[in-house]
Symmetry: C2
Subunit: 815 residues, 2 copies
């Protein structure tokens, strides 16, 4: 029988050759007394009610409680939604409710298969958590009808869990991140238990496959716990899952290796007893580990519990139709009876299916759930999974130190990262439970090591690594860092993700998904906002001349530029003081996605702390507040009435701008050069396209009306070209940026190879400026040729001597 035809694939057809003895490692429980008969009935009624509502949401536009026999007109015009995962999600929801009632624990529910929205929304309605935020979803017939008929229809709930779903901190559209988000959510929430369902499709993703190690970064003394539940229902969209073909021996071995105690929940005849017993066992294991750690005697390599829940896909739905399996097969993934509006056989199957839940016994005549169902729902608001403050409204702002006290003197040389590291050290000190850093083992390499002086890495797995807890999570998985950061941020705290520039793009789509969550959250009235998601990119292409070509990729800027302007922020502070100012701003700001790009190498400090920020208006320069300014010290006559404007955006390329200005000053003092630095990229967007975008008047005052402007840009030129679109007179603008040229070479060769060197810039300046300055025009060809010769000479020098000419990085002077 081909794979597609297999129903109820558990256990898999072929046993592995692993010795049976491995099965002794599974946890065995006596489940007989896990529930009283009464509890069991109540749970089953809750499940029936939720499964009924979920199924009805996919199909019905009218007759939502099937008070009469279904007719085609009752069926939605378009059937959207995913049934397959719903019964399993509901099962877990019901038992979480029971566990909360019984143990009074604080829980969140993170759902990997976000397409199971009907199941979750049904449960939220049953516990009356929808109407708490959206009164139209009242716990009565009107509210239920709205929920069912409005689902997946314009204006109703969408087909996937999103920020509009109360209690959610994860969307699950792009599979793979639920577990990481859960680990992030429990950090510094010692009492919280996050139950996380991982689908067996999702389990195939790389991010999930490494997320299982997440516990090795959870200190049970200070943080809560994740209860992972692998929902092994055997199928993804149209194919078996890997986990669905793995037998108990394989799964036991795998999860034991990851460090877990494995409990299979698979007694389909007694699933409620099985799951109730298993959840209580799991919570007990968690509490024991926490208790030991909190009493100062932490267990070495504690084996945290994991549940493997084996229930058929689309359990309780139609068994067969047209001679093909539905329940327990991939055909139940989405809409199991796709033609029920036209096909009487399918309509009849739907009638049978929905009736099997006996809705008339689950809701009273006003559509209110019967008391037995409500009896397993947590009693108080904040205990309900849909109304936990951690998920919906928990932002705690940081105590951000005054950075100006850490500012460095102008005209010194400093590594922005070294200086910012000291600042972050203090941020950690002042915010011992609300700030963390997540990094793929690059903190020291990125020269942010000051944060490790009084904190440590929170790696827990053996004595040596457990020596010193701390605020730093370092794990060579950008996906894990990002997922944990998301979970931490969405539950009200603030984090920072420093990364090599080239590798932050690994989480490109995760960041986009996160931005979608935040956008939708901002459109609700009841989510109170989050701290910003903060990235530092350093070890940039301009100074990855040692690691070479694979380490050169500034594309993450472009990812941010595509976001909604309300969220998107990109900063390229030109020196240490500007970086401090930017960092302090970003850590205070809410609801943004902040990307800060800087250098870890010592580079000139161009601006004093006062000039960099708003403290003193006397200087006339508040660079980081304005987002850009004319750098008079590097311009001719302070930049007044220029023939040409040279603009640096980014550290090394700005240095080249200043070097070009000096070069021009030396060779053609009559050329009036204005130097501009842009630290906030967003100001350049055409007026009205971004909240930070300069007015055309301000744009003109920075860049003149019609003089040639040459941008030396850190990123890919195309994105800045697109960002500038709509600004007047763009034909006078040229832009150079990283053009995918590089290898292991010298720093200056990187500038030469990408045409961002002082020589390229100076040549462009003299070529273009002649139009406005006759004395330049006469010499423009001669000078451009000279500058390009200089470039060529330097290149030759570099390849002959294996290093840059000695004076390449001396700070340019204008004497």
């Amino acid at each position: 029988m081909p794979a597609e035809e297999v129903a109820q694939p558990n256990p898999p057809a072929d046993p592995s050759h692993i010795p049976e003895s491995i099965l002794d490692l599974r946890v065995q429980l006596n489940i007989c007394d896990a529930l009283t008969d009464e509890e069991r009935v109540c749970i089953q009624k809750f499940r029936n009610a939720a499964d009924y509502i979920a199924a009805a949401m996919i199909f019905l536009k009218g007759n939502t409680l099937i008070e009469r026999r279904l007719v085609p007109e009752d069926i939605k015009n378009r059937l959207l939604g995913h049934w397959g995962t719903c019964p399993g999600l509901v099962l877990v929801y019901a038992h979480l409710n029971r566990l909360i009632r019984k143990t009074d624990c604080d829980a969140l529910y993170v759902v990997g298969p976000g397409h199971g929205a009907p199941g979750i929304l049904a449960c939220l309605w049953l516990e009356n958590s929808l109407s708490a935020y959206m009164p139209e979803y009242s716990q009565d017939k009107a509210g239920l009808t709205k929920l069912i008929s409005g689902f997946s229809v314009p204006g109703g709930f969408p087909s996937h869990i999103n920020a509009q779903t109360p209690g959610s901190i994860h969307e699950g559209g792009e599979l793979g991140y639920a577990l990481d988000v859960s680990f992030g959510a429990v950090m510094d929430h010692p009492d919280l238990v996050v139950a996380c369902v991982v689908g067996d499709g999702e389990a195939e993703t790389g991010p999930t496959a490494t997320a299982w190690h997440g516990y090795k970064y959870i200190d049970p003394a200070e943080s809560g716990a994740v209860l992972p539940i692998v929902h092994a229902n055997g199928f993804k969209i149209s194919e078996r899952t890997i986990y669905g073909t793995m037998d108990d021996k394989e799964l036991t071995a795998l999860f034991t290796g990851y460090g877990y105690l494995v409990r299979f929940v698979e007694d389909l005849d007694n699933i409620d007893l099985d799951l109730a017993a298993s959840m209580e066992w799991a919570l007990n294991e968690i509490r024991n580990i926490q208790k030991a750690a909190r009493s100062g005697k932490p267990i070495v390599k504690p084996r945290w519990p994991v549940l493997i829940l084996r229930t058929p896909k689309g359990w309780g739905g139609p068994k067969c139709i047209h001679g093909k399996f539905i329940e327990g097969s991939f055909r139940s993934h989405q809409v199991p009876l796709p033609k029920c509006k036209e096909d009487p056989e399918e309509l009849s199957a739907l009638q049978g299916w929905l009736s099997s839940y006996h809705p008339e016994q689950l809701f009273d005549k006003d559509g209110v759930p019967i008391p037995e169902i409500l009896s397993i729902v947590p009693k108080t608001r904040n205990k309900k999974l849909g109304q936990r403050k951690e998920a919906n409204a928990n932002y705690r702002c940081l105590d951000v130190p005054d950075w100006t006290k850490m500012g460095v003197s102008r005209d010194s040389q400093h590594s922005s990262m070294k200086v910012v590291g000291e600042f972050l050290h203090d941020v950690i000190e002042r915010n011992p439970t609300t700030f963390r850093m997540f990094c793929p083992d690059e903190l020291e390499s990125n020269k942010l090591d000051a944060v490790l002086r009084d904190s440590g890495r929170n790696f827990q797995w053996d004595v040596a690594s457990r020596a010193k807890g701390g605020r730093i999570i370092e794990l060579l998985s950008e996906h894990t860092c990002q997922g944990m950061l998301q979970g931490y941020t969405l539950t009200g705290r603030t984090g920072l993700f420093p990364s090599y520039e080239a590798f932050l793009g690994i989480v490109h789509t995760m960041m986009v998904q996160y931005s979608k969550f935040v956008k939708m959250a901002n459109e609700t009235s009841w989510r109170h906002g989050f701290g910003s998601l903060n990235y530092v990119e350093t070890s940039t292409w301009a100074r990855q001349e040692h690691n070479g070509f694979s380490h050169q990729n500034p594309s993450f800027i472009g990812a941010i530029l595509n976001l909604k302007p309300a969220l998107a922020r990109v900063y390229l502070p030109p020196d240490a003081n500007c970086f401090l100012s930017t960092m302090a701003h970003c850590l205070r700001a809410k609801n943004y996605i902040n990307l800060m790009v800087g250098s870890k190498q010592p580079t000139p400090v161009w601006l004093s702390p006062e000039e960099a920020d708003l403290l003193s208006y006397s200087s006339g320069l508040q660079h980081c507040i304005a987002g850009a300014s004319v750098w008079k010290f590097a311009s001719v006559d302070g930049g007044v009435d220029p023939d040409v404007v040279l603009v640096g955006i980014g550290v090394e390329v700005t240095f080249e701008v200043i070097a070009a200005a000096a070069l021009l000053h030396k060779h053609i003092p009559e050329l009036r050069v204005r130097v501009v630095n842009v630290t906030d990229l967003m100001i350049l967007g055409a007026h009205g396209t971004h909240p930070h975008a300069l007015s055309d008047l301000d744009f003109k005052s920075l860049f003149t009306e019609d003089r040639p402007v040459h941008f030396n840009y850190h990123g890919y030129a195309i994105e800045l070209k697109g960002w500038l679109f709509g600004r007047p007179n763009l034909h006078r603008v040229s832009i150079e940026g990283y053009r995918e040229e590089g290898t292991t070479t010298s720093p200056f060769d990187m500038m030469l190879a990408n045409h961002t060197s002082r020589y390229h810039l100076a040549a462009s300046a003299v070529r273009s400026a002649g139009v406005h300055n006759a004395r330049v025009q006469v010499r423009s060809h001669e000078l451009a040729t000279l500058f390009m010769h200089m470039a060529s000479d330097d290149k030759k020098y570099i390849y002959k001597h294996g290093k840059d000419p000695e004076d390449t990085f001396d700070t340019p002077t204008f004497v």
Copy 2:
């Protein structure tokens, strides 16, 4: 002792609580007789020579054979390179050589830690594979000096393995993909064994963590085998690794669960015996599995071998300096004696270290390796790891069917994917061993299911899934799909990766890394090129109105636009015939990264096969060859002398362009509208920026000199704005595209929400065209208001009725 201070961390300090019995699952071998004494000596000399050269490459610019005592002038000005991983990589190389000599097997070596370039280059020099391609690296003193002194210096080998490294098919700069690439390389190469070293840092990445399941997709009857070697040396850049803290019990359980037979190689006193025995055992296991499958009796769930190689990081390097551990600690990761040029103590340590290899006993006076070393090198060119044709020159072009026979009639409605699926079915049939498709379980959903009619999914893990082998790899991990595709392509074959548009961005950085490899390969004389890397994006945002916001993300186009123009190709074929033409072209083309974006829904076929391609010049239209054309049938007077130009790029947005033209025709017939479709995005780049870019004259003839042009673009507007930069008269251009607006709604609401609807376009057209047409000017405000009212009415209709107005998707007519 804090983590940073631990040396030689194997085994880890804390044992896990897993019962000891799990250790019975480890493979035990008698290693005593694995090597003759003579073999052992030869291997050790090979290792010493390679380790010596690798270390010298990091440090020495002169005195490269330390024929006299080292002085500071012998030391490079800048010390670059990564020592820590080198001794392990060399160890494996030596033993692979021996295995090849002994068993005559065909092997490739894929190195996850690409920063270990010195070790690999040293071995390549020893086997004389460098000079085969680059005569300057001759196997004598001159060649050795060039190798050592030129490493990591401008003009020499870069610090990471890349395409300039003979025998490599993987760069390893962005860690995580070695294993997937290896699996792709062995597919349809039944005799090939790819030894793949996975570093324990790399092992933390998500892509690697799921790549272990790769064997479940390898049919041992038709494909070769991967021999994975986990190099557990305990440290990454500055922190313990996860694997370095896992004891034998944890690792045994984990890899047993993944499906492997686990062999630890860790007898440091007898490491050559241990590894020789282990490699022979592994090859034997592989051959047994293959033999069974090839004799028609495949083993169910075969347990493939994996080696866990536990050797200290930087093994053989300096033990301690300044009182701190180096060998066996993170300090040996990069340059272990970073100050040896200035610090006499470090220089002396370097002297001691390098002398410990006794180079004078390894090379003769001409710098040639002694015969004992050469005795373990494979004898023939094509057996040497650096000279395998699979890696360096193996491209086999596809037999691509004539697509025009599968073309569909103009004015019909067809799903591009359905039609292309039939074509791909035939491609598979004609190319049974050189073409594969890799997809994250979306083939059927993407309506490419015709490929499954006579082929199958090559999922191997149990009887049901193994029922039918085939050319299709479906695995819910985009990373794995991409990695396997890379390995398959770089070893000479051609693949195709169809994906939901929103989720292809998951492999954004992998694709960029791949493009860097291809760019560098093209700069060598001896790599003969590869098939193109081919992507199909469908289930695009424009028709993800059912799955909603999380499934809407066209950002992968932008990723391609940032690549070197020589590689970058983006096509948005507007209908099924154009898609066929594009697909046929892409499958034949070499060295590109092709992105094809289309629709899986039935949409109008606008062009006949002849119009779509080059077969007939009589029609005057060869749309896909030209990349764009005026669509006369949708234009006023065939588009002659227009007042306004409307441009569609993408399927649904082009439909709206045509609908807008019809709307304008109805309401203001005197407005002269030209409709243009662009199918090859690359033609729009400013002249000279891309090989496909139109000349300014051609650009003008398509878009006029000065008439308003409105682009309705499938992607993010900013990227097209950037791409157009440099074209004249851009102030007359407006661009709409996906603007991150969407949810579960109706298809047309997606157009309305993103301002790509016919109404938005028509309103823009009348607003702008008045300048050139006085009769339009009079009515422009009135008409724009009318169109925006229509938009508003449709929106209201959609939200009231839960669906689009009935006639929204009728093909527009111009009567």
